[in-house]
Amino acid sequence: METLLNVLVVGILLGGIYGLVSIGLNLIFGVIRIVNFAQGELVMLGMYGAFLGFSLLKLDPYVSLLIVVPAMFVVGVIIQRVVIQPLQAESSMQIFATFGLLTVLQNLVLVFTRGEGYSVNTAVASLGVSVGEIRITATRLIIFIAVTLIAILLHLFLQKTLLGKSIRAVTQDRQSARLMGINVERTFMITFGIGSALAGLAGVLIAPIYTLSPGIGGNFILAAFAVVVLGGLGSVAGAWAGGMIVGIVEAFAGYYINPELKQAVWFLIFLAVLIVKPSGLFGQVGAEEIGFREQS
């Protein structure tokens, strides 16, 4: 029983990490349907941002959020303007272009760091709570709280605010949205910027847990797509749940089946869901078609 609970806690905390690295993609792919293969690299940039703040300005990673998140918003806006906007209607070209972007970002960091692995320290690294045998470190707990909080805020933002409504409107029907007076280009730009800022936030929060390497984004990207699709496209609560599912499945498969196969198990679940219900567990049926129809 103790073990079972322990594995469950490990899974939930891992789910928090998966949910957090996916939440930006949930906006970029889940809502505005941009196939951004460079999303993992945006998380990676966030991690290196935390490292820069830590090593140059002696900032605690949680303080450097104040700089990294706005900076990543700007990065996202630039990427959207230069790379995504011209390819708005062509999803296979987006795959191609964002893969090029991934290669550039990853190797630029490699050039600058010369392949050296870095780590980031925080004041709370040694803190944690223990419940019986189960120990929860503060860094992972913060991630879990953050992803839950962000999911709630993002949901409210998309449902209640004017900007959130216009984001959903341009996804569903660009033409009508334009007729309603929505600035379509600006909406896409801001959405991509927010998605990028969220990736940067995820990067900063997970920086104390992982050793930084230029290729680390590759560990997150398929997981992020799996989380977004599993949960249901455009459903923020779904993406949160999707993260939990992936984390818990990985923890249980790793403990009870084989640590080497833990990822294969959730890949297969992801494939099964994708094939049986492409709109995801909590998505509206047909959601996968929206935004991919031909639009001018």
Partner: protein, 345 residues
């Protein structure tokens, strides 16, 4: 486009193109550095043509072809290592297996469209990677397989690199010939119809799923042969190499896209541009600053995606049209453009 041409003309163009592709080998045969680059260029040209059958003509943007490549590599190597089966025979079994099993595992994903299909097939590649690491008995696990150097024709191991270059060239020629024959066949037209509009194709009486299955089977079998040749050439295979996205699985698609997706010559042009450029950049920049050559390559990919939507083949065709235009005399300029274009096609 090419399908309108007469049989004789298409095949003489094919022969001419092959001679052109052989030219760099004839010129550089003495230079081992370039022969090695040409070996990879021919191999990846063939693989990109194979991918293009279902990815370009069929419009199914697969990022999972690395699985077929890896299956060919592992099976041919193991058949040779364990039972001493000559790789010449040993490349047939995985090709057939990939055609059948590959089509079957892709089957359920055919209902997915566009980027969802791409992501699902990408997941196949990642499952393959995990399994290759896990199934040590079959794949040698993370350590991989090593094939001892015993040069012999029957072993498909050659001391002379130029023989390898010719073999890879033959593979490329085979893939091209298959693609040309396919595009002149009924199945080829069906593939195009499915790509352009699935519902319309279905309404016109085309069995969409069957067409996709056949296209995948053909494409997978050729990709598997490429994997077999790769295994015997490098003689050491491990999971991170054969399941690499940047170097294998996604690369086939990228070469085809840069060259011109859904054209016969495009994938070959893409490979002839990118593979030598990549190898050259790696040799000249990679030593000083690791990763620099990939920064350049990534930028090339980005620029190609942004400014050459139809790839090199598309750009050449557009330039050709511009060049030919003044030669066509028309009494009413402007009004006759579509007609004169049709006449030239």
């Amino acid at each position: 486009m090419s399908s309108i041409h007469s049989t004789a003309r298409v095949w003489s163009l094919f022969a001419l193109g092959l001679l052109l592709a052989l030219l760099p080998l004839a010129l550089l045969a003495g230079n081992l550095f370039w022969v090695n680059i040409l070996i990879y260029t021919y191999l990846f040209a063939g693989l990109a043509v194979a991918w293009n059958i279902i990815g370009g003509f069929g419009g199914q943007f697969s990022l999972g072809h690395g699985v077929f490549f890896a299956a060919g590599a592992y099976m041919t190597a193991q058949l040779y290592l364990r039972w001493g089966i000559s790789p010449w025979l040993g490349l047939i079994a995985p090709a057939l297996l990939c055609a059948v099993v590959g089509a079957l595992i892709f089957w359920p994903t055919f209902r997915l469209k566009g980027s969802f299909f791409a992501i699902a097939t990408l997941a196949f590649n990642e499952v393959g990677l995990v399994m290759a690491n896990y199934l040590e008995g079959i794949t040698g696990g993370p350590r991989g397989l090593q094939i001892p150097f015993r040069a012999a024709l029957a072993n498909m191991i050659f001391a002379d690199q130029r023989i390898w270059a010719l073999l890879m060239f033959a593979f490329m020629a085979l893939c091209l010939a298959v693609a040309i024959m396919l595009m002149r066949s009924r199945l080829g037209y069906y593939l195009l119809a499915v790509r352009e509009d699935e519902e319309a194709a279905h309404a016109a009486g085309i069995d969409v799923t069957r067409v996709k299955l056949l296209g995948t089977a053909l494409s997978a079998a050729l990709a598997s042969v490429g994997g077999s040749l790769f295994a015997m050439y490098v003689r050491t295979i491990d999971p991170p190499t054969v399941f690499s996205l940047a170097d294998i699985g996604v690369k086939f698609a990228l070469l085809a896209l840069i060259g011109g997706i859904g054209t016969i010559t495009g994938p070959v042009l893409g490979a002839f541009l990118i593979i030598p450029a990549e190898s050259y950049l790696r040799a000249s920049l990679g030593g000083g600053l690791p990763g620099m050559h990939l920064v350049v390559l990534g930028l090339v990919m980005l620029l190609a995606a942004l400014f050459m939507r139809k790839g090199i083949a598309g750009a050449i065709e557009a330039a050709w049209r511009r060049w030919r235009r003044p030669a066509v005399r028309s009494p009413q300029p402007g009004a006759t453009t579509p007609a004169s274009e049709a006449g030239r096609a």
